[in-house]
Symmetry: C2
Amino acid sequence: MTQPAWPSSGIGALALTDLLGRWPAAEGPLYRLLATRIARLADTGELPAGLRLPAERDLAAALSVSRNTVSAAYQVLRDEGMAESRQGAGTRIVPHRTTPAAVHRANGFFAGLLSEAVVKADLSLAAVDCAPAVAAALTDPATLLDRAERDALTRTSGYFPYGLPELRSAIASHLTERLGLPASPAQMIVTTGAQQALDLLIRSEVLPGQPVAVEDPTYPGVLDALHRAGATVIGMPAGQGLDPDRLEHVVRTHRPAMVYLIPTYQNPTGLVMPAGPRHRVAAIAAAHPDTLFVDDMTLAELPLRDGPRLPPLAAFGPGQPNLVSVGSLSKLYWGGLRTGWIRGSEGLIARLAAAKAAADQGTAAFQQAIVAALLGGQHEDIVKWRGEWLRTRYDALTSALRASLPAWTWPEPDGGLCLWARLPGDADGSAFAQAALRHGVAVVPGRLLSASNGGASNGGASNGGASNGGASSGGAGFVRLAFTQPPDVLRAAVRSLAAIPAPSR
Amino acid sequence: MTQPAWPSSGIGALALTDLLGRWPAAEGPLYRLLATRIARLADTGELPAGLRLPAERDLAAALSVSRNTVSAAYQVLRDEGMAESRQGAGTRIVPHRTTPAAVHRANGFFAGLLSEAVVKADLSLAAVDCAPAVAAALTDPATLLDRAERDALTRTSGYFPYGLPELRSAIASHLTERLGLPASPAQMIVTTGAQQALDLLIRSEVLPGQPVAVEDPTYPGVLDALHRAGATVIGMPAGQGLDPDRLEHVVRTHRPAMVYLIPTYQNPTGLVMPAGPRHRVAAIAAAHPDTLFVDDMTLAELPLRDGPRLPPLAAFGPGQPNLVSVGSLSKLYWGGLRTGWIRGSEGLIARLAAAKAAADQGTAAFQQAIVAALLGGQHEDIVKWRGEWLRTRYDALTSALRASLPAWTWPEPDGGLCLWARLPGDADGSAFAQAALRHGVAVVPGRLLSASNGGASNGGASNGGASNGGASSGGAGFVRLAFTQPPDVLRAAVRSLAAIPAPSR
């Protein structure tokens, strides 16, 4: 945590491109937008003082803009005292810290959430709108909670670091009865979404510098939390599914503090880990009690086709304390609920609750009662409604892609909210994502989902600042497309994407 | 963060006492309850393998129990394979990790939230029940939000790392119009209570090992977050108010990354920093731009008497980027809302929003709309209602103390929810708190609010395990009493406390 995220030597053009995120999605001349965004990154410490910016021609290629645009942007930065250029030493960020900030890592993945830029079609965020039954419950809680229940709740302090007891019970029953995982309320903690579940696990169980193994590609939010915690991230190829032999080798060799897997509807591929490999993973976990194996079940109730479901990893060793499960209702009910959970041993849950008390003293209480009532009541109806909602969108996106971009390929997903699309030829996902933005479409460049890239922000650093697309740039030829927008928006987005001349890597 | 929180040599009796927290507040023989609680702390990693437990007679004195009770508890631990005793080497925790946990720090302060033990009168948690107007709004949001507003919100993704725009605006107006601090929505981030505000600031702006200066005594939740982040905590005496010369000396000498202050109704003393020292603090901040000065305004709307209000520190330099304000509606509306905020420079807010995206992607969204509507509507009525609620309780507690425990003294608070009570003679707060628990009353031992104690858990460690009450045991002769329980509960609690023979330090 004490190392700067960047070497003083420089940042590569593609790494900077991912950090820049949605810079062109605003009004004004491109060079001005580019300068403003770079200045902002310098202001927030994401680009530290002394950092050498990429050569103009490299950045221009990565951004799919003319070299003149980059030249003019650098000139603006020099004029505003944010940068300086010296013969033979390139252009560097000038020291100008406005706050006592340490050097910060940042992951371009959350740029869509953090930016105020508006795009016509956001295919970058795998977020759903609120299910009607959930919206009705939020609007009129009295339909779900009687007066006695409401009064009992509002007479409490409202602080529940473990979660509201009713919700802990409701989630434990939900896991036991619907998802094939025996669970007791004492094994549960309620979190502010699955993101906080992962962040608490990492803060509590991983020390800076310790190795953590993840699938590559994987959910970019976990990479951000891992990089912030100073973990050493080890990627295991999973574009076509994870090879358990590879996992075993990594666990034996690196003895990671944690292994993070998404066995059901993997993010981004949407694939399911079959029963055989699940047994193998549980056996590897049994042989390595000092490694925590985390099964992220966030997408587990979002199948794209009918058929039998496989039990989560922890069901293969229900009493094994190093098998941990994480989940969320964000993709089924609504992200705005921010309701996630962890199932683990009682000792682990006690440690996590202490960490949560120090982090926020507990998630908002009243809504937990509403969610508990929904889990015990309309859950199956919501699953059915969301399934239809999802398949309509999936069909719209895949049909449009097949019609307009026939050279694109992707593993056929079993479930989830995303396609992991390979661009044709040697097109680069980061450069393509930039071009797409200027056509009003946001997609996630594959590099941001790659562990071997070291996260968006320090990929360039570990590459010594070279703007190469070599061995360390996992996911370079891919983009992640979420199909959570309405079908007509998805179809219009594909038309826009098809109009982009594919940039080369 | 990689050092164990305990030396292998041992833990002091008073440090262990604070960690044990509410162990006697359950059914069963004392020795069994004590053994169970020690075993639990070993299981969660708070007492690491190899740690030497205190000598039986020291722990017995600290817990106000007989030596036989401690002997029997240690015997149970040995019988259950949790401890071993060797001639001349005392009793040690046996290695038995059930999970791959790192060594964990913990602060006994949150024990009340984390424990399921029930006490008759909880004077340890300064938490309020829900204001009736807030409960009504939660139950029937349609009275505050019209259908168009609700629909617009539930059609979004629900992810707002900066906070819901309506609430950012409402809090900015609230600060500007009611609390004397000019603020724009872009300077605001919404957090899950003030605890998360502090945790995000510390995670984002303080590197492990960096010094952070706080008042001594101070809010124990900030000490927990600082210890978890590996900060070096520097306490500045503040039992009678903070001396600005002392602050200036500390800032000059240690160049802390952060200074954390509660100028209005300080927790736990309830004192107000006068106008002169506020000007001085702002001037010190202006002279030290690399130190962040955090003003915790959580209690600022809870005066105990009428009179003019002083503006917050940031109002003395509204454009100064190292003056940061933090606040919460938890003590005025309800803790179960978990609504807090930070006001800072736009660069700082951008960094904090990126940290919040990685921590939880944002606080629950729907309720933010309810809180925004309350801030714009019934706020003044709620302040008035809570003020009466509070003064009734304050009068009940102070009258009862004066009548039944006339030797106790405390600084007369200007506002807030707590008394900082000095015990008569050389009575020790931790030992007294233990005795109080066995009389059904929970209070916070003063040591847990003391920066110079190094937090609950590693005070013993830095003292080399000796159970002394010496120079490093700040707050030893004090307890914090919250007056947030109903008046009759407070009066009964004081009767119970008066029945306790004061243990000596």
